[in-house]
């Protein structure tokens, strides 16, 4: 792959010690780590005894000369019961290489910031037990998105697609506050949209989707699921539902889904994405048949 990196501007200004390319403290640390850390035999034994976990982490940084060509770094992290992939990369960052970069926040599968490509599949770092993975555990940034640095990918396109489906409740008939009326939803209807409302915008589904990889305009599973949540909500009026279906039934909307189920398989919140997309396809066809 041609990476055609230009020299970052900052590298030309020697005043900035962080940016002096090969001499940066970061790289000195890296070198020390590589020389000092790995005593292969000892590591192997520790791993066999289940005391450490071997992780291979994707590294890339356009601002450091050594890392402009992506590579994998090996870390041997002391294992603890209940340790997740996120725990392991956090340990590696805190103890071995503070330049290791990735997003995370809640550590309990609610914020959706730490979806990685782990051993060839999209997973939430904080929800994936190391004990369930084969070693060495290969940790990469999400495929089909540009890598900004290490495990951090550019999520802009994903967010654009999410916003394209107008992911907010719309209703002209909101009862006047002075009437003290509530906008009730039946328990059945709540149940219907329950799963779709669990999305945490992690982007795992979009990254796993073959079609989204090829067709940049495809809305993608998460956005369609988001639209499902509102389209199926009875509290929105019929006209708004139609408006939503019109967005979804464009050429690059629901029809691009090829029912490969890859999104459904990777979604950390177990949302039946394919099922929702299929239901919307049928809704769109039904709606159009009605107006023939």
């Amino acid at each position: 792959m041609s990476t055609q990196q230009q020299e970052p501007e900052s590298q030309e200004s020697p005043q900035d010690p962080e940016m002096k390319g090969t001499e940066s403290p970061q790289q000195r640390r890296l070198k020390e780590k590589q020389e000092g850390m790995v005593d292969e035999h000892a590591e192997d034994e520790a791993e066999a005894a289940g005391e450490t976990v071997h992780i291979k982490v994707f590294r890339y940084d356009p601002e450091v000369a050594d890392k402009q060509e992506p590579r994998f770094d090996d870390f041997h992290v002391p294992f603890e019961k209940g340790m997740t992939v996120l725990d392991a990369v956090m340990y590696a960052r805190d103890e071995f290489d503070s330049s290791l970069t990735f997003r995370h926040s809640c550590r309990q599968a609610v914020c959706g910031s730490d979806a990685f490509f782990v051993n060839g599949s999209q997973m939430l770092g904080c929800k994936t037990q190391l004990s369930e993975l084969e070693q060495p555990v290969r940790i990469e940034p999400l495929p089909h998105q540009e890598v900004v640095k290490d495990l951090v990918v550019d999520m802009d396109h994903f967010y654009d697609q999410m916003h394209a489906v107008e992911p907010y409740f719309q209703d002209e008939e909101t009862p006047d506050a002075s009437d003290l009326e509530e906008q009730r939803q039946t328990p059945e209807n709540r149940e219907k949209i329950k799963m779709s409302s669990r999305c945490i915008w992690c982007g795992a589904c979009m990254s796993s989707c073959n079609i989204a990889a090829g067709d940049n305009e495809y809305l993608g599973p998460a956005a369609i699921n988001k639209a499902y949540k509102f389209a199926m909500d009875d509290r929105e009026s019929e006209e708004i539902k139609e408006h939503r279906l019109r967005i979804l039934e464009q050429e690059h909307g629901v029809w691009r889904c090829q029912t490969q189920f890859s999104c459904t398989e990777v979604c950390p919140k177990d949302i039946p994405l394919t099922e929702h997309i299929q239901e919307l396809k049928r809704e769109a066809v039904k709606k159009n048949l009605k107006f023939w």
Binding site: D154, S262, P272, Q278
Partner: protein, 143 residues
């Protein structure tokens, strides 16, 4: 974003081993569909010899003078390689039909949780039907 790294297509093609059932089904359905439409064009071309036959054109087949249509079709059928290709075509068509039924069910929202099992079932059934048809397809042709 000042700079970013695009890992390119390599990540799709290098990782075929990590494909799951539904993704394989998609690839196979694609492949068989393209074979079938390709065959349909060839098929109509071959059958077009009927136009010549209706015009009274004839040709030689195994020392006999026959009409152009019969001659073309039977001539093709007497070739071993054509028979092998026909078995291949049957396999392709059977898989496309069975997986097509699976896809139609998926479209109707039936049995979504068994989508991987129904793909494996399509594969196995295709194999069985193809093997069972070999005697019929190969009847009366020598190597």
């Amino acid at each position: 974003m000042s700079q970013s790294y695009n890992r390119g297509l390599i990540e799709d093609f290098g990782r075929w081993k990590e494909f799951s059932a539904g993704m394989w089904a998609w690839i196979f359905h694609k492949f068989t569909g393209w074979m079938l439409i390709g065959y349909l064009f060839t098929h109509i071309a071959v059958l077009s010899s009927a136009i010549a036959a209706a015009d009274g054109q004839t040709m030689m087949l195994a020392g006999e003078q026959v009409d152009a249509y019969t001659g073309t079709l039977q001539g093709l059928e007497s070739l071993f390689i054509v028979r092998v290709l026909e078995v291949g075509l049957l396999a392709v068509a059977v898989f496309h039909i069975l997986n097509g039924v699976r896809l139609l069910m998926v479209d109707l929202g039936v049995g979504l949780t068994a989508q991987d099992k129904s793909f494996y079932a399509s594969l196995v059934l295709t194999g069985v039907i193809t093997v069972a048809s070999v005697p019929t397809f190969m009847a009366g042709v020598g190597l």
